[in-house]
Symmetry: C2
Subunit: 338 residues, 2 copies
DNA sequence: TATGATAACGAAACCGATTGCGTTGATTCG
DNA sequence: CGAATCAACGCAATCGGTTTCGTTATCATA
C-alpha cells in the first residue's frame, strides 16, 4: 500500500500542491478542466489526504468525540453504535471516551479534544462540571444529550425526562400503588433530576407526599443495583414500598436479581418500572416494564445536529425533545394489600 | 484555556524549541539543570504537546485502534472498556471501531489507522480478510484477540476455544444428553471454528457422531438468536435435540427468549450452554450456564501486549492463551426422556 | 490598441512538533 | 598551554497539508 502524498500527486500532474488542495476541497482558483483531471487522478491512485496534516494546518480534524459514562451500559453502547454508524457514513471518525462518570476524566477528555482539534464533541454523561466556559469560547462544535447547562449555546437532544418520570409513576398509581419508592441516579444528573420531579409531580397530583418514602441513589451500574437490592431485602417488610421507580434498566436488573436471590418475587411482592428500554429488557425472563427513549432516533438526531453545527457554522440552534414511551411488560402488577 | 505551543514555552524560557522537545522526551542533549527547569515550567503552565504535530513529524500518534464487531454486544463492550481504561492510563487514546462484521469496513478502518499513523491496532473481529500483507509490512503494532492467521508475526491473546467447546459439551454429556445441537458463529471465525471442533471431539469421545445433529449459525446478535429460536419451535418435537451449545450469550439470550415465548421451558425441555459469560448472564431470571473467558484478564493482557510491541520494537512475540471456565447456572439439567 | 478587471495558477509561509547537523564552550589529556 | 573531545544547545529542514499573496494570462471595455 503505497502512501501517496499531495506532493506526489502534484508532481505527477505537473501542478503545484496548492492547486491540488484547492481542487480537492472544491475551492475556487482552479480551472474546470484541470480540476477534473486532478480529481480523476486522485480517484485512480486512491489518494486520501492525511487528516493529521490537514488538522494541523487547517484547524479541524474529522474526529468527533463521544463522551459517555460507561460503554458497558447498553443504553450508552446502543447510542454510541448508531451515532458512530451515522457519522462514519458522513466521513467522520467518532472516538468513544468513557468518563466513568468522573468529572476529572471528562474534563481531560474535553481538553484533549480541543487540543487535538476535534471537529466536535457529543456530551452524554450526566455530570455538569466546569465545561461551560471552556467549550463556549473554543472553536469546537458541541451537542448535548440528556444534559444541559444555563447559557449553553449549542444544540441538544433531550428526552422529556419529566414526562418519563411522570408516566412511569402514573402507571404505578393507576395500578393502585401509593407507597412508591424511587432510586435516582447521579446527584448532578439532569435526567435523574427531572425524572424525579416527574415522579414527585405525579404523586402530588394524587395528594401523595414523597418526603418519607423509600429513596436510594445509584451510579447506574448493575452491581450497585444489586447492592441496593440486598439492602432492600434487609428492610422489615412493612417498611418496604409496594413499587419502585428505578433510574435505569441496569440498576433495575441488578436490583431485581438481588430480590429474587433472596426469595422475593417480582411483580408479586414488588412492582418495578425503570428507564431506557435496553434491548435485553424485553427478553423473556426479564420482561422489564420500562420507559423507552427511542435510542436509535436520539442517536440519529444527535449525529445530525453535530454534523450540521460543524459544517454550517451559522446553523440555527435546535433543541430536540424526544418523547418517552412506557413499555408495559411483566414487572408491574396491580397493588394488593398483604 | 490558553493553548501553549512548544514555541511559547521555548520563547518564555529563552531556549530553542529543539531543547524543549529534547527535555520533554527524555532525550540527551540537554543539561541536567536546564532540563529540570523546562520540565518544571511545562508542569506549571500545563503545557501538553499537540499529538497531531507530533505524529506528523515523529511518525506515530498515540492512537490505538480497537476494531471489533459490534459494541452493543456486551462481550465486546466489556473488553473495550478494560482495554481502553488500561491504555488510557498509559497515555494512549483508544479508538473503538465497529466493523459490524463487514470485511470491507474492517479493511477501510485498518487503512485509516495506517494513514493516520496509529501506533497500533487490536483486531477483535472474527473475519480473516486480506489484512495480512497490509499489516505486516507497515510500521504499526498489531495484536490479535481470538483470531489468528498463518504467518502472523505479532502477539495475540486467544481463549482456548477448543477447550471451551469441549467442556461445554462435556457438561451436557455428563448430564446424560446425547442429542446435542450446535449453533455456530460466523463462517470464518476462528473462535467459532475451534469451539465447534471441541464440541465434535467431545461427542466423538463417546462415540457420538455429529453429522446429522441440529446445527445452525448466528451472526452473534440477539435478534438472530430469537429468529433461530422461532424456527426451532416450529420443528416437530422429535426432531429437536435435548440440549444445544450456542456460540455466544447474546444469541442464547435471543434464542431462549423465543423458546419461552412459544411456551417452551428451559431447562426442562431444553438445556443450553453458551460462551462469553457477559455480566447479565448471571442475573436471576437468566441464569445462563456459559463458558467464561475472563474478559477483564483478556483485555489487560491485550493492552499490555500492544503497549509492549509499540514501545519496545524488539519485544518478544507472545501468544497468550486464556483458560476458559464453565459457569454452571440454571439453563442445563440432567437429561430425562419425554 | 492600451488599460483594467478577473480568473488561474505557483511560491512560500504556516500549523506544531521532531531531528540531523553545525556551533559553542568547557573539560581533559598529552 | 594547545589540541582534541564531548556535552549542550541553536538553526533549519521536515512531516503533509492549507492559505495568503503575488504573478501571469485572458478577456472585455473604452
Amino acid at each position: 500500500m503505497k502512501k501517496y502524498t499531495i506532493a506526489d500527486v502534484a508532481r505527477e500532474l505537473g501542478v503545484s500542491r496548492a492547486t491540488v488542495s484547492r481542487a480537492m476541497n472544491g475551492k475556487p482558483g482552479v480551472g474546470k478542466k484541470l480540476r477534473e483531471e486532478i480529481l480523476k487522478y486522485i480517484a485512480v491512485v486512491d489518494y486520501k489526504p492525511n487528516n493529521l496534516a490537514k488538522a494541523l494546518s487547517g484547524g479541524k480534524t474529522n474526529f468527533i468525540g463521544l463522551i459517555l459514562g460507561d460503554i458497558r451500559n447498553p443504553f450508552y453502547s446502543e447510542l454510541a453504535f448508531h451515532v458512530q454508524r451515522k457519522l462514519n457514513s458522513e466521513g467522520y471518525v467518532v472516538i468513544i471516551l468513557n468518563s466513568e462518570f468522573d468529572e476529572k476524566r471528562e474534563l481531560s477528555y474535553v481538553q484533549m479534544a480541543i487540543r487535538l482539534n476535534f471537529a466536535g464533541v457529543i456530551l452524554l454523561t450526566a455530570q455538569n462540571g466546569g465545561l461551560e466556559e471552556m467549550l463556549t469560547e473554543e472553536n469546537i462544535a458541541v451537542v448535548l444529550i440528556n444534559r444541559f447547562w444555563p447559557g449553553f449555546t449549542g444544540s441538544s437532544v433531550i428526552s422529556d425526562n419529566f414526562k418519563a418520570g411522570y408516566i412511569a409513576t402514573m402507571h404505578l398509581l393507576e395500578l393502585g400503588h401509593t407507597n412508591i419508592g424511587f432510586i435516582s441516579g447521579h446527584a448532578n444528573s439532569l435526567a435523574s433530576h427531572n425524572r424525579h420531579i416527574g415522579y414527585v409531580q405525579a404523586m402530588n397530583n394524587l395528594g401523595l407526599k414523597t418526603d418519607h418514602l423509600y429513596h436510594q441513589s445509584s451510579d447506574l451500574k448493575m452491581e450497585t443495583g444489586y447492592q441496593i437490592g440486598q439492602k432492600f431485602m434487609a428492610l422489615p417488610k412493612k417498611e418496604r414500598p409496594s413499587a419502585i421507580v428505578i433510574i435505569n434498566d441496569m440498576t433495575a436488573l441488578g436490583f431485581m436479581s438481588a430480590i429474587k436471590e433472596q426469595g422475593g418475587c417480582i411483580p408479586e411482592d414488588l412492582s418495578i418500572v425503570s428507564f431506557d428500554d435496553i434491548s435485553i429488557a424485553s427478553v423473556q425472563g426479564i420482561d422489564l416494564t420500562t420507559v423507552s427513549h427511542d435510542t436509535t432516533n436520539m442517536s440519529l438526531k444527535a449525529a445530525n445536529l453535530i454534523k450540521e453545527s460543524i459544517e454550517n457554522p451559522a446553523h440555527k440552534i435546535e433543541q430536540i425533545i424526544i418523547n418517552p414511551k412506557l413499555k408495559i411488560r411483566k414487572t408491574t402488577r396491580p397493588y394488593h394489600s398483604k
